[in-house]
């Protein structure tokens, strides 16, 4: 949907070094055309994913594949595994209520969210280079299905595990806040602040989103009652004669028109404001998952460091006693050392990435929210002005009736 400039190299240049004069590389993705497949319990929704690109690795200029929700989940999980430290764009939730799985509104909301998901990946300077993305966008359906079913059991984290990680992180934050020290915990003041910020932010956002959803409902309810009221007014007008009766009828008609405007705004509010808030909440939850990964990496690093320390002590002991085991021990020690360095590297990579990601996240969110606010205000202004205009047109007639 949104053509994105690519950075093929890591440094952020926008031009391919191989073809200085050719057009700039781009990768544009859309998720469209939800269609119900299958019957009964097995039924699901499939989406068309259209990729338009001029990248050499991709089958261009355009490729269309059919994907379903679990394919998107596969992509998210793979990226999460591979790119620790990066805030993976969030996915819309699985539907918990069977009844709503196939309502038009739900399907549209999900399609929009999936479209945003893929586009965010395609416009992330690191993620866009992922092989998994290419598979997702290009592979035929059978390959995709094979890939998807392979992942179950190997990479797929069970929800319970994820929950446990969240809980750990939360308890660690509260422990620190409450002053209980736990040794295997990264606790620089800036990082603590960040963690606290993320957790509180989620609460605030969740509340705002809840009210936004309620506001959508209120618009619908008001629209509904306006429609009923209009009908009642028309009926009442049948008791009146001539001019007054006509006036009643027109008031009733106008109420119906206003009711329709209300319903339209309710939908607009849902898709352009409430969903944006929901997306914000999901993004924050994704950050929490990354925080958990970072904690994991830190723990590994610390544990390895511990192990290495003990190993050193052992080694020195063996040296002093000139044991035969010394050679083996030294080899083990080297391996451990390498692992330790690897763990440190991994951890530091995560830290580095997260720092960049936070900045990117905040900037992106200002834009996203700015747009959402704009849509909200625009919608409300449009609605209010429309209502005023509709009723205003009745005033002359009412005046005439009142003065006669």
């Amino acid at each position: 949907m949104i053509p994105t400039q690519l950075q093929r190299s890591g440094s952020g240049s926008t031009q391919s070094p191989r073809s200085p004069s050719s057009q700039e590389p781009f990768l544009s993705v859309s998720v469209i055309d939800p269609a119900k497949m299958g019957n009964g319990v097995q039924a699901y929704i499939s989406y068309k994913v259209i990729t338009k690109t001029n990248l050499p690795d991709y089958q261009g200029p355009e490729k269309i594949v059919i994907r379903r929700y679990s394919d998107f989940v596969w992509l998210r999980d793979r990226l999460f595994e591979k790119y620790k430290g990066i805030f993976i764009p969030p996915l819309p939730e699985k539907s918990t209520v069977e009844k709503f799985r196939f309502t038009a509104e739900f399907i549209e909301m999900r399609r929009q969210a999936l479209d945003i998901f893929v586009n965010r990946i395609a416009s992330h300077h690191i993620l866009q280079q992922s092989e998994d993305l290419r598979i997702f966008l290009q592979a035929d359906e059978q390959t995709m299905e094979r890939a998807r079913s392979q992942e179950i059991g190997i990479f797929k984290k069970k929800p319970a595990d994820l929950m446990q990680i969240f809980k750990d992180v939360q308890s660690k934050v509260s422990d620190v806040v409450l002053g209980k020290e736990k040794p295997v915990e990264e606790s620089t003041p800036e990082y603590e602040k960040l963690k606290r910020y993320i957790f509180e932010l989620e609460d605030h956002l969740a509340e705002a989103q809840k009210h936004a959803y309620r506001l959508v409902k209120r618009h619908r309810e008001l629209g509904q009652s306006l429609s009923e009221f209009g009908k009642a007014v028309k009926l009442l007008g049948t008791c009146e004669d001539n001019a007054l009766g006509k006036v009643f009828s027109e008031v009733g008609d106008k109420a119906e028109i206003v009711s329709v405007k209300m319903q339209r705004e309710a939908h607009h509010l849902l898709m352009n404001f409430e969903e944006s808030l929901k997306d914000y909440v999901r993004a924050v939850q994704s950050i929490k998952a990354t925080i958990a990964e970072r904690a994991n990496a830190f723990k590994q690093q610390c544990e390895l460091a511990e192990t290495i320390k003990f190993k050193e002590i052992d080694l020195n002991k063996l040296r002093l006693t000139r044991s035969e085991k010394l050679a083996d021990a030294e080899r083990e020690y080297d391996v451990l050392k390498a692992d330790g360095e690897e763990a440190t590297r991994r951890f530091e990579a995560i830290v580095q990435l997260m720092n960049e990601e936070i900045v990117r996240f905040q900037e992106q969110k200002t834009l996203d929210m700015g747009l959402a606010f704009h849509e909200f205000a625009k919608g409300q202004a449009h609605l209010a002005n429309g209502i005023a205009e509709a009723w205003r047109s009745l005033l002359p007639k009412l005046e005439a009736c009142a003065s006669s």
Binding site: H211, E228, L236, T366, A377, A384, A388, L394
Partner: protein, 585 residues
């Protein structure tokens, strides 16, 4: 519009002995309303309704606590005034019983609670925003008609509820019965009041009395119904909100009375508003004593005592609620005959125009009920939107504060500023929505007011049908008396009777004469009530048209005004955030 000659009547005087009866009645008085009410309110003035009003009085009569009749010997109130100049009715010195047991069970619309400060206080529109009130805060009428359409006015304020203890030396029930009184302040320039401003303290029981006396005196009129009693008066009275609700209801009721062109000049109302101390209107006596009275008379009536005859002075009251059980029986029999008998009733409601009007009013009532219900739902929905918009605004204000406090990057501050702009506008819009809703309540309340009036219309029609029933009963009675007289004639011509026969013939002649007189009165009464009906319906029609137009106009104007304001606010925010639209488009 109708003649408003105030007849100079004797001032009513108190009846000390009644006080004891009153205190007896007090605690239980309220219970029975619903039974009688639900029947009478739904029935229209037709023969069937006459039957049900009679039967409900039977139901009531089994209850020791319903509307009573004062004793017959008391020259109480002066004849009710004013009368339409065309008809002279022999105004009975006897007080009347209520035609119906005021069906008051129309609760105020539930949305009256939704908006916190409906009528008398300032609406919480935004500071500086004036809603063009079509509805000026006038105290003479609950509608938006100008209070100064006629040159005389009557403004009433009910305030200052206070608990008072009733000394119960004389009552059978021991202990103190506390009750609430209300301060009723009146401002008027009507000459009969002889004063421009005055206050009295009245309790709810006085209002019931006033309402009962008005129903008796103004048969055929569309009299606004009084507020309901409560089933458990003494317990509910403790609650502050109930007292406040009642105060508001009483004020509304009195203002409606004051808005009625005929009733506002009535002695009953004047006396209620002006006379200090105890209310000098005849109070209602409990049915137990009335029934005892009636039961006592019955055997004599059945044995042919002269009191079995309806005299002219009786027929101007309805049979229901009276003590003449025999008359009740007769009229009940008549109404059954009307409905089920083979032949047509002796006199019929022939006025086609009236019947059409009744049907039309029935439809109007249906549609009003529906519209009133939808109006309530609409107001609730508007309030819901206003509240949620406000809550959303507050949630964003909290978020703004949070982002500002925790900001590490500048972009967060920018976002916080955007958010604040949205939040404050949302809160402002919420206030506008609330203001709009308050005004909507005021205007759509007209629907509810007219629903209440429909009840009063039923009563007015009931008056008519019960008067007709009296006429019919008398006609039937007369025809059977005449045939008895004939039989006596033929019998006496055959038999040399002597005294007994002669006496019977004379008695019968007397009875016929009295009954003829009564019939004449009953017919005149019926015609009078018919005329009252007609005038009142005319008045209702014209007032209704005005009120409905104003209601619609007010409703629509409010929507326009508030929506314009809301639109302006949001447009500002949309413009401020326009740059985001361009960037990500």
């Amino acid at each position: 519009m109708m003649g408003s000659e105030n007849q100079e009547g004797g001032e009513a005087h108190l009846q000390a002995s009644r006080e004891e009866m009153e205190s007896l009645v007090l605690d239980g008085d309220d219970g029975r309303d619903h039974i009688g009410n639900s029947i009478t309110s739904q029935s229209y003035a037709n023969y069937r309704s006459a039957m049900t009003t009679l039967s409900s009085s039977f139901a009531a009569s089994h209850h020791p606590l319903s509307f009573p009749t004062p004793a017959d010997s008391d020259p109480l109130l002066s004849p009710p005034s004013p009368q339409p100049p065309l008809l002279k009715s022999p105004n009975s010195p006897k007080p009347r019983t209520t035609a119906t047991d005021d069906p008051h069970h129309l609760d105020p619309p539930s949305y009256a609670d939704v908006v916190s400060n409906p009528l008398d206080d300032n609406i919480e529109a935004n500071g500086g925003s004036e809603s063009p009130s079509q509805h000026s805060e006038n105290s003479t009428s609950s509608f938006s008609r100008s209070p100064f359409s006629s040159s005389d006015y009557l403004e009433i304020v009910v305030s200052n509820p206070q608990k008072e203890a009733e000394s119960s030396k004389n009552s059978i029930v021991p202990g103190n019965n506390a009750y609430v009184t209300y301060l009723i302040t009146t401002k008027t320039n009507i000459s009969d009041y002889g004063g421009s401003q005055f206050s009295v303290r009245r309790r709810f029981r006085d209002v019931v009395t006033l309402s009962d006396r008005l129903s008796e005196a103004y048969r055929g009129f569309i009299i606004p119904p009084r507020p309901e009693k409560s089933v458990v008066e003494s317990q509910v009275m403790q609650k502050q909100e109930f007292v406040e609700q009642r105060r508001v209801a009483l004020q509304k009721y009195l203002r409606r009375l004051a808005a009625h062109p005929v009733i506002k000049k009535s002695d009953e109302l004047r006396v209620f508003l002006q006379v200090q101390g105890r209310l000098p209107l005849p109070t209602s006596v409990d049915v137990a004593s009335r029934m005892l009275d009636g039961a006592g008379k019955l055997p004599k009536q059945l044995l042919g005592d002269s009191r079995s005859v309806m005299g002219p002075q009786d027929v101007v009251q309805p049979a229901k609620g009276g003590r003449d059980l025999l008359r009740l029986f007769k009229e009940l029999k008549q109404s059954v005959a009307n409905d089920w008998g083979a032949s047509r009733p002796p006199a019929e409601e022939e006025d086609k125009e009236f019947l059409d009007k009744k049907q039309w009013l029935h439809d109007l009532e249906q549609h009003l009920t529906n519209a009133s219900k939808q109006a309530e739902a609409l107001v609730k929905a508007q309030q819901g939107l206003a509240d949620t918009m406000g809550e959303l605004g507050l949630a964003f204000i909290k978020l703004t504060k949070f982002e500002n406090e925790e900001a590490v990057l500048n972009t967060q501050r920018v976002r916080a500023a955007d958010m604040k702009s949205l939040a404050t506008t949302a809160v402002r819009a919420s206030r506008y929505h609330r203001g709009l809703n308050a005004q909507t309540v005021k205007h759509l309340d007209t629907l509810h007011e007219y629903l209440v009036l429909m009840l009063a219309v039923h009563n007015a029609f009931s008056d008519r049908s019960s008067a007709l029933l009296t006429v019919q009963t008398l006609l039937s009675e007369l025809s059977s008396l005449h045939s008895r007289a004939e039989k006596l004639e033929t019998a006496s011509s055959k038999i040399f009777g002597g005294d007994k026969l002669r006496i019977r013939k004379t008695e019968l002649k007397d009875t016929i004469r009295v009954t003829e007189d009564a019939k004449g009165c009953a017919i005149r009464e019926y015609e009078r009530i018919k005329e009252n009906n007609r005038c009142e319906i005319e008045r209702l029609d014209s007032e209704r048209r005005t009120d409905f137009v104003n209601m619609l106009k007010g409703f629509v104007t409010n929507q326009v005004t508030y929506m314009e304001k809301i639109g302006i606010e949001w447009t500002k925010v949309a413009e401020e955030t326009n740059r985001y639209a361009k960037e990500t488009a």
